[in-house]
Each structure stands twice: as structure tokens, then as C-alpha cells.
Symmetry: C2
DNA sequence: TGGTGGCGTTAACGGCGATACGTCCTACAG
DNA sequence: CTGTAGGACGTATCGCCGTTAACGCCACCA
């Protein structure tokens, strides 16, 4: 096994077992059977090590999920993504804390990937006409609520008697605010449908940028559509 | 000035200025002009010091808010509380991070007080018939969403172009899920109003426990009402 | 065979949280 | 007023941590 991955495994193991979500570089080096400088040669910094460890654990977690991901109901995928997010946090609390809470100046990449996955699901929702705001704004709404639920379930477990219930309630509150109801509205009301149409059109344009408009024109149009969707 | 409060002031000052949300006991002692053992005599631990600092800052913050607090519209107070929460987090990011994020084994008391304040507002909402779930569940929904928005606005400011917009959107999503609309429903529908009635009755009973029921009976009744409200 | 550059170790530095111990100031009995 | 006891304070120190300088080893290439 590569020395780097050996250090990574040792650090991940120690971190998962640590009750205080903290690992010392010395302990990692001893567990990996290497001297201190190799660690700094490989990761440059303790923060670099921790970022790599978080990415490592998150990637490992995603590997099991990437298989049968996209269903034909993107809103269902949105709900599943929320539940997976919370489940991952509850199963790997130390990793999750490192991912969102502390002062890691460089966001560990896993967070960016999670954001990207969420955005992809929301784009599909918009393409299906199920989004009432722009995917960007929807992501900016879903992510804090999801992370907040996960973080408080981790850090204040005593307060939340029924974790699944609270998570589902907040999830539905956000999903309701962000998506249109399952059954399409019978009579498309002349008013209030602008946002849905704008969000859908934006998603279609983003998916298939082949249009008679130039790149800058398309960009501006997309910005206007987002503004319409979010109005 | 008392030595303890001098240390508290010094620590709060250093913490507020610290870019990395971390303070060394040595720096605090030097700034306060005391030796190290005094600090440990007063607070026992670095964690004890930080908890005291957070409580100190939060209490100072609440002092300015406690004056003209209760309006005649409890739902408006709920919204104001949300906004104040976010504003406090954005103005005192280091205090807020300490309050929610790290491994402070003893929740700093300020968090408990914030929870209590939220619960009081929600009780008033229920008493006014504006809550569709029990105050406890509502608090368990509002708190994570509110904290999640505040935390991600602090830790990932680059992602959130318009902080106020996102905060307001998530707030409205939660408020909508938790409260009944402003105008009372014209015709009280025979179905679906059970939860509102149960929540209101529970709030009234909690406010004025003088009832022909015994204490244990009242407790059980309140539990049932909560179950009805949350069904 | 003699560089040469990655990869590893030993040893050390400075800073941190925490504490043992001597010293000094204060308060009170005579 | 004076002597003494007790508690508060500062000095020096310990052990741990993150980090790095200096050096040794070994495979590869001209």
C-alpha cells in the first residue's frame, strides 16, 4: 500500500475513533509507522491532512451511492439526497464536523462536491418543471437547512428526541418551498406561473446550450431567467 | 473591576479580533495582566473560560434586545427572532462558532437560553392559535434551520451572494410549515383543524395550569395534545 | 562508478495548556 | 501595635503539540 494512503487510513481510523474529533499528527505518524516529516511532505500541513482525510471518507461514502442514483422523479432524488446527507452525518459525525464546522480555510472539496451533486439534482428538478426558484437559490436554501439539521443532530443529540421526525419535517418545509406540487396544476393560472416557466426554461437552456444566441447573450438571459424565477 | 470580569473582557476582545477563532490562555493572561494560575482558579479550564466568554457576549447581546421585545403579533416576533439570530451570528462570528460548532462538552448555557427564548415565542404563537405543531417540535424545526443558515453564512460566505435573501427564504419556508396563515380561515373546516386546536389548547394549559386535573393528568394530556398537534 | 534526487529518519525548536511550589499580602487574635 | 495563619498571586516548570532543519539511504542514470 502507498505510504500516503497508509497515513490516510491511519488518520481516518484515529479520527473516527476519537471522542473529541481531534487527532494529533504524532499519533497518526505512530499509527502509520512513519516519521513526522513524511506527513508534512505528503500533505504539507495538518489542515491539508485533515482535508485529505475528509475527502477520502466522503469519496468512500459516495462510492456506494453513485451506482443506482438517478431515478425518474428528481424531487424524490432531492429527498433521498437530504436523507443521505443526514445519514452520513450521523454515521460519521467527526468527518462531518470537520467538513462543515471548523476553521479549515480551504473547504475540503468534499463540500464542493456535495454542493455540485445537490445542484445537479436541482437542475433536473427544474428541467422537469418542478422548481419554483432557480437551482442556485434552491441549493442555497437546501444546503444550510440540511447541514443545520445534521449538525444540530450531531452536536445536541439530547434535545432531539426523534431525529428522523425533525429531519423529515424540515426537509418537507424546504421541499415545499422550493418545488411545485407533485400533480401538475390543472389549469395553468395566468399569474404566478412565471417563476416555474422561467426556471424550467433556464434548466433546458443550461442543459442544451445550442441556441441562436451568443454565449454572452445566453449568460445574460440565464441571469434574467434566474431573477424571474426567484422573484 | 473584578479580576474575573477583566479576564472575561480581555478574552472576549481577543476572541473577537482573532481571525482564526482561537485564543491562547497565555495571550488572555497577558492582556488581562494576570498570571496563568488565576485564570485556572477562576474558570478551572480553558473550556470553562470559553464557555464563560460565550455566555458573557451573548448576555451582553441580549441585554439590548430584552427591552421592547413582546409585540402583539407573536409570529412577527418569531420572524424577528430569526433575523436577530442571523444578525448576531454575522456580527459575532467567532462567538457564534464557539456557541454551536466545536466540542464544548458543556453547552455554553447561552444556547440553552436561546432555545428557551425561542420556545417562549412559540408558546405565544400557539396561544394565539397560529401554530400547527407543538411548540417543542416547532422549536426543533426552527433552531436547526436558523443555526444552519447562520453557520453557513459565516463559514462559506463566498457561496451566498445575497445573505439576507437566502435567510428570508429559508425563514419563510419554516414559518410557513410551522404556523397558520395570517388571516384566520373563514370557515373552520371540519378536517385538518385538529392540530391547530390542540396546539392552542396545549399552550393555554401550559400558561395557566390551574385546572381540575391533577399534575400527572395534565402532563399526560399535554403529551397527547402535542401528539395531536404534530400528527 | 560517481553523482543526484526522491524518500525516510533523528533531533530539535517554539508555543501551548496545565500545575507544583515558594512568596507575599491580608485579616484577625492577643 | 504586633505576630501569625491562611489564602491569593507569580515563577518556573512539565509534557504535549505542530513544525522543521539536518542528515542518511537507496534506486537510477551517464
Amino acid at each position: 500500500m502507498d505510504t500516503r494512503t497508509r497515513i490516510l487510513h491511519a488518520a481516518a481510523d484515529l479520527l473516527a475513533r476519537s471522542p473529541e474529533a481531534d487527532v494529533s499528527t504524532r499519533a497518526v505518524c505512530e499509527a502509520a509507522g512513519v516519521g513526522a516529516p513524511v506527513l508534512y511532505r505528503q500533505f504539507g500541513d495538518k489542515e491539508g491532512l485533515l482535508s485529505a482525510v475528509v475527502d477520502f471518507g466522503f469519496e468512500q461514502y459516495l462510492a456506494g451511492k453513485r451506482a443506482a442514483k438517478p431515478s425518474n422523479d428528481p424531487v424524490r432524488d432531492l429527498r433521498d439526497g437530504w436523507n443521505n446527507h443526514v445519514a452520513f452525518a450521523l454515521e460519521n459525525p467527526n468527518f462531518y464536523r470537520l467538513m462543515y464546522s471548523p476553521g479549515l480555510s480551504a473547504p475540503p472539496g468534499a463540500a464542493a462536491e456535495a454542493h455540485g451533486l445537490l445542484l445537479a439534482v436541482l437542475e433536473r428538478c427544474a428541467a422537469a418543471g418542478r422548481l419554483r426558484v432557480s437551482p442556485e437559490l434552491a441549493a442555497q436554501m437546501v444546503m444550510p437547512a440540511n447541514a443545520g439539521v445534521a449538525l444540530l443532530l450531531i452536536t445536541r443529540p439530547a434535545i432531539y428526541s426523534d431525529a428522523a421526525e425533525v429531519s423529515a419535517r424540515v426537509r418537507e418545509a424546504i421541499v415545499t418551498a422550493v418545488t411545485t406540487p407533485d400533480e401538475p396544476p390543472r389549469t395553468p393560472r395566468p399569474d404566478g406561473e412565471v417563476s416555474v416557466l422561467a426556471a424550467s426554461l433556464g434548466a433546458v437552456l443550461r442543459a442544451a446550450p445550442a441556441s441562436p444566441l451568443s454565449g454572452t447573450e445566453t449568460a445574460l438571459l440565464l441571469e434574467w431567467l434566474a431573477r424571474l424565477a426567484d422573484a
